[in-house]
């Protein structure tokens, strides 16, 4: 008798199993690994991409519900038309007009990022959203409360159910969804990429600029991502007021003083102002700095210490025209990344 009960129960369990699994087959997006790019750092096995999760992440990215007073969304500081950086602000502006400590970086090709933030404070893309959500100057909220607020909305209950097969919203799922959207922000269709694929040709100026780049910049702004993902001191004098020591804040190691994560130069045309504190308004100022503004302090990268960089006016122009070939207009206007209709 007891065994009969078990058989019935067993068959029942199996039926439930089959039903849930067949109705919940993953919708794989047409993603992405780009020719010529290295293997992504992000481990997709732990958070496999799914159209519904990506869409949910996108909705969250654009929803000010993530901030304490529902005024600030991720998009407030990372807008698509400027390659997902903050338009025109050297230091990002957050909740109630409060000014942050750093320049918001552009967001792209994050699947290849070894760490996040200028100082590498965040070790995994999944955990990134926690930082702005909790920052008093940015969104001033807690993930606990975000989850509560989302749970109150029928829209989110339904969409979390569709995406994760669970209408009880958790911190884990919120973070995974936002990470999925950010992973899709791939920029790999600039003129530079087309030249590499043999579809277009550099102009003479661009080509001269490319040669200068290879000689002077490539070591840190390494192709094809245009960053080596490392922390370097590029000789930027410290701002006495901000007194930002960069990587040292995280490692507490003197040798990391004034080192910052090398930013990508893809779409650099759109991501002004430049550097961690946004001190340079245009690329001309950046090149003037590399030409003659380097500060020779203890942790200055040996690459820059051993190479005297000097650009004349023509060289600057050529280098800038090369940097412009890293612009990917399609990325800026790709409707898959824009404000979602709910």
């Amino acid at each position: 008798m007891k065994n009969l009960q078990k058989i019935i129960f067993g068959v029942f369990v199996m039926l439930i199993f089959c039903v849930t699994f067949s109705s919940f087959e993953k919708k794989k997006p047409d993603f992405f690994v780009t020719k010529g790019f290295p293997k992504p750092v992000y481990d997709f096995k732990k958070n496999p991409l799914d159209e519904r999760k990506i869409l949910l992440g996108r909705v969250l990215f654009y929803d000010p519900i993530l901030s304490h007073d529902s005024t600030i969304s991720c998009n407030s500081c990372h807008s698509q038309y400027t390659a997902f950086t903050h338009v025109d602000h050297a230091l990002s502006h957050g909740i109630a007009g409060k000014v942050g400590n750093r320049n918001s970086p552009s967001l792209m090709n994050l699947a290849w990022a070894k760490s996040l933030m200028w100082d590498g404070a965040i070790n995994h893309l999944d955990m990134q959203a926690l930082a702005p959500i909790s920052n008093k100057l940015e969104m001033d909220e807690t993930i606990e409360n975000v989850v509560k607020k989302l749970q109150h909305q029928k829209f989110y209950r339904e969409n979390f159910y569709a995406a994760f097969n669970d209408s009880t919203i958790t911190g884990q799922h919120v973070l995974q969804a936002i990470a999925q959207f950010m992973l899709t922000l791939v920029s790999a269709n600039s003129k530079y990429d087309k030249v590499k694929r043999g579809e277009e040709k550099f102009s003479d100026n661009e080509l001269s600029g490319y040669k200068l780049f290879k000689k002077n910049c490539e070591a840190c702004h390494t192709e094809p991502l245009f960053t080596n993902g490392m922390f370097e001191n590029n000789g930027l004098p410290v701002d006495a007021e901000l007194n930002d020591m960069g990587r040292m804040k995280i490692t507490k190691d003197k040798n990391d003083s004034l080192k910052f994560k090398v930013p990508t130069l893809r779409n650099v045309q759109y991501s002004a102002p430049y550097m961690h504190d946004g001190r340079f308004k245009n690329l001309n100022q950046v090149l003037n700095f590399y030409s003659m503004g380097l500060e020779h302090n203890k942790t200055l990268s040996p690459i820059l210490l051993n190479r005297k960089i000097y650009f004349n006016t023509d060289e600057k122009e050529n280098l800038i025209s090369f940097l412009m070939t890293l612009s990917d207009k399609e990325f800026l206007y790709d409707t898959r990344f824009s404000y979602p209709k709910r």
Binding site: N3, K6, I7, F9, G10, V11, V13, M14, F17, C18, F21, S22, D43, K46, N47, A121, I122, N123, H124, L125, D126, M127, L130, A131, I133, S134, N135, I143, E144, V147, T170, G171, Q172, H173, L175, Q176, A179, I250, T251, K252
Partner: protein, 237 residues
């Protein structure tokens, strides 16, 4: 439906038949105490070393990778999970280990804290979900041990003390292994219990609360405090 799921479900069913023999379980019950008195959140307590009083308002801690040993036969039972103990929630202090393979338990070891692999895996759920208030947001990593409260001797705002101990990166990896030997080994029967005391007075006595009352980031101070974790634990006979 894939073949794998089909086979798996049948295996699951067959498994139901195999389970007719009784299972042996162990419940570990962690008991936060202040010296010999069981911890009452938000009420006055005293430590042995001083006449000074203090109040504990929050106590949370990760325990993971619990291993039960039978040192005679060298048999082990390993539980790979991480558990969040929270003084506010009595249920969280009880950890059920099911289907023990051992006949005897003569010692137990476990980690206080979350290891570096788990710290760099990305977003996780359950006890490791970031909504548990045990994850740093400005600098990735779990808080392994959280003890908050106040005492009139603290020279701080509202006389508060705050210890958020964590950090997983060398040289500031604050995870600690605890090893406890049972004076009276447990001979396994169907239901077994093991009570482990966590004496928080040991931690408060290990620092000078007057001035050293705020350790909230990975680093040297956190490492020093973590070195005292092992003093807190004892088997309640």
């Amino acid at each position: 439906m894939s073949l794998k799921i089909f086979i798996f479900s049948w295996l699951a069913i067959l498994n139901l038949f195999g389970n007719n023999s009784t299972e042996n379980n162990l419940q570990i019950n962690f008991q936060p105490v202040v010296n010999n008195i069981s911890l009452q959140l938000n009420s006055k307590a005293y430590s042995i070393n001083s006449k000074d009083s203090f109040f504990i308002t929050t106590f949370k801690m990760y325990v993971g990778k619990i291993v039960l040993n039978d040192e005679e036969s060298k048999e082990k039972f390993v539980d790979e999970n991480y558990h969040l103990l929270n003084a506010e929630n009595v249920e969280s202090l009880k950890i059920d280990l099911k289907n023990l393979s051992l006949k005897k338990i003569s010692s137990v070891d476990f980690f206080v804290g979350v290891d570096s692999i788990e710290n760099t895996k990305g977003s996780m759920g359950g006890d490791l979900d970031p909504t548990n208030g045990m994850y740093w947001t400005w600098n990735s990593g779990y808080i392994n041990f959280k003890l908050e409260g106040h005492s009139p001797i603290c020279k701080s705002i509202h006389h508060a003390f705050e210890f958020h101990i964590g950090g997983y990166q060398h040289p500031n990896n604050s995870i600690r292994k605890i090893y406890l030997r049972l004076k009276n080994p447990i001979i396994i029967s169907e239901e077994n219990k093991l009570n482990i005391n966590i004496n928080l007075a040991e931690i408060l006595n290990s620092v000078d609360l007057r001035t050293n009352n705020n350790i909230v980031e990975p680093g040297f101070e956190a490492m020093k405090l973590a070195d005292n974790f092992s003093k807190m634990f004892s088997i309640a006979e």
